[in-house]
Amino acid sequence: MNKMIKWALVLVAVGGAFYFGFNLKEGQSTRGVIVTTSDNPLFAGGSETTLGTTASTGKVIEVRDGENIQNAVNVANAGDTVAVYPGTYKETVYVDKDGITLSGVIVGGEWPKLDGEGVKNDAILYSGNNVTVENFHISKYKGNGVFGQAGNNFVIRNNIVDDAGVYGIFPQYGKNGIISGNVLSNIADAAIYVGMSDNIDVIANEVFDSVAGIEIENTRHALVEGNYVHDNTGGILVFIMPGLPLKTTYDVIIRRNFIVNNNHPNFGAPGSAVAGIPAGSGIVIVASDDVVIEDNIITGNNSYGIGTTDFGFFKSNDKDVEPNPDRLVILNNVMSNNGEDAAPLIKSLMALQMTSKGPDIADSGAGVDKCILNPGQYRTVGLSNYYTCDFASSTSYATRTMTLSEPAPAFKLEGASAEDFERELGRHTYYGICSGCHLDDDVLIGPSVAEIQDQYLGDLEGMSTADVREEVDYAAKAISDYIANPVRVREHLPPMPTQNYLSEQTRVAAAKFMLSRNKKLPMLRKEK
């Protein structure tokens, strides 16, 4: 990597994980093509994530000030990049397709800005897999800045989000994602909220002036590393919340973060989960299991540095949640100056310890198998059931990333052959839709499969398997074309409704499956 690119990386990426760009048109300046990972192991998402490191294969659709980002998304296909130039865009952008990159182009320090004007709900909504959102300045939305509902293999990086009504960045129900290099402030709930997700890295973000800095909730396998978390009400929260369909949080590493001066008065909405966080909370662990807290700098948090408690923290119960925080590991952390001006609740707790100062580490006592290294250096309360960690077996150093080495698949059929995939797609489409009108050997609403087969396949007697397959391919294509635009051919039966909402691939798969229902074609049948 040459020096020029390195320089660009540092300035443009705002401390982000790694950077991916694309060709600008001739005559447009400054933004080189960078397809690489940073060689800074901290910024590299645990340095071993494979997310976001490959170049886009599709076309680049440019959006300039005065134009509409959504229009570009609507015409984009998987692999395409929507490149948004500096300007102010007042819209909600939604991405319900896979493989789309929304990439802001920062020119001479000018960012593309998404402005919710205090009236729009969310800035960017996505449900697709393999979506990247980068280089946007998002302001004044009533809801969230970047919000994923479903969507695996996401990359949300190098964005500035300020003044969001609920969450700054909130991926939900996604597997395998990275949130890195974002700067978030003045968020009325959690700045970064990883909810009900698996295999997520939250790396090198700056979060401040918000109610919660980073929240990991009902999520498994998360790495929170290298973040600068300051001046929030609570710094980093690891929770299980009640009443959600995913009932666990476990395997979370909080490492090498700066968790400093999180003393902001709580301005959370009444009834929200964070409204109960005392100002001055560094790290809060509720009911979550297998959390490792290692190599953080935790200072100046006026109530406590690390607080751990059980599910009783919440007013509402959930009988399907195991309430205790088990197997917490607290290793080397630099902690000082915490508890200087503890919230009343903490103060009353500490009064029993004959001190008015809040603790570095407080534990309500629930949970088993918790350990701490060198506890003598901290002011603690409630750690009597901790044992001393064995560093070698407890350190999280071996885990470089929680993301997956291969993208999380969108489909259940992992590694299936094209033929098997087509068969499954055909089977599910045929029974899920076509079976409403067609039976194998009888008229339901439409003609029987046997009759359709007779119509589309000639006499196959004596044909080789290869020839039969060719016949079937041809017939399936014909059926696919027909059902996309059917004309009535049987006057005694109702007309067939148009099935053009299915892609050609799906229509062909369903047609092939239907043809394979015929007993003459055993070589196409695999059903037991």
Binding site: N121, K142, V166, P245, L246, S316, F411, Y431, L439, S503
Partner: protein, 400 residues
Amino acid sequence: MWQVGPKIKHASAVITASFFVGAMTVPAAYVKPSDDPAFTLKTHCPPSFHLTEDNSCQFSNMYMMYKSLENVGTGGLRKGIPDPRDGFTPQEIDLGRYLFFDPALSKDGSMSCASCHDPDMGFADNRARSIGITGEEVSRSAPTLWNSSFLNIYFWDGRAASYEEQMLGPLYAENEMGNTREHLLETLNGIPEYIRLFKQVYDSDGISLDQVYTALAAFEGSLISLNSRYDQYAHGYHAALSEKEIAGLNVFRSFVARCAECHTPPLFTNQQIAVIGTPEPEGMRRDIGAEAVDGDKTLRGGFKVPTLRNITKTTPYMHSGRFETLRDAIEFYNKGRGHAVGKDEELEIHWHIHEPDLTDDELDLIVAFLGTLTDENFKPETPKSVPSGLPLAPASANDI
């Protein structure tokens, strides 16, 4: 659209009619043989199911192509669905269909499952509260049965975990179908046509209650609605929805409205209990909901998040039908956290109930979007007659 006036009139008509039926000591049809030709049971599976070589109907659907986190079957446009209740034989499902529509299942032969779960009314009854065999209203509304195959909690308060557990409620509650185990068994075993059909399905002499429950579960588990225009959109055909409906989807799933946080695709329920603090109809005491199940005060006033599929077909809305229209039901969420709780009541309102401050236009957009969740393509056929020979119960009590 429903008006208050006619509904009350209908209700009184129903009471009269039910009393009349109830006054007859023995339902006529039990004692005389059925005039119907022998009933035949279907040998093919209902739509959405395929027949295996061992004669069992297995569910199949495009949503089964997708994964979901921890296999919970919830989470977004293209996420998997929970495992369905399937594996029944075609004959068993069809026997369940006859039982479902047969008034012989009630104490006096006056009502069937379909009386409150009418396929022509979204498998509900268009009533605020259903009317039972006594002619009086019960305390809650009949939930739809569409896609109940995928659920793991039943009843508004979530107190049952299976069809078999659930159906004991309406069958034997004195103010619902009013039957007893003994009477139900006696009734069915006195109907030769059922003896014959049960023997065909279960190869047994005589009918057992477990067989009845299983057959009913088989039928209920076959009611699939996953081919709405929304589904076409979700699978990738974006032209299936109008611009307005897509805007509605975006409000629906926004983190301001937060509808999708509990009414999560693909089933449009996350199957959790939520305390949202809706008002009861005038004059009704607060229903404590899930608190009554195991005494958990934090779930006071909590109810199961209902599916929104076919929601336009099942007015009125909420557990006791307080809201006549979808617009009213949606507006409830916009009126502020706890606004209808009452000052003498303490509820732990769900954190997603807040002050979203949506515009009137946005409320209308949500209504427009919910209309895209309608799909009744696979509505089962209502039998013309049932093995007991009893007249089919009125399509719904309020049709009288």
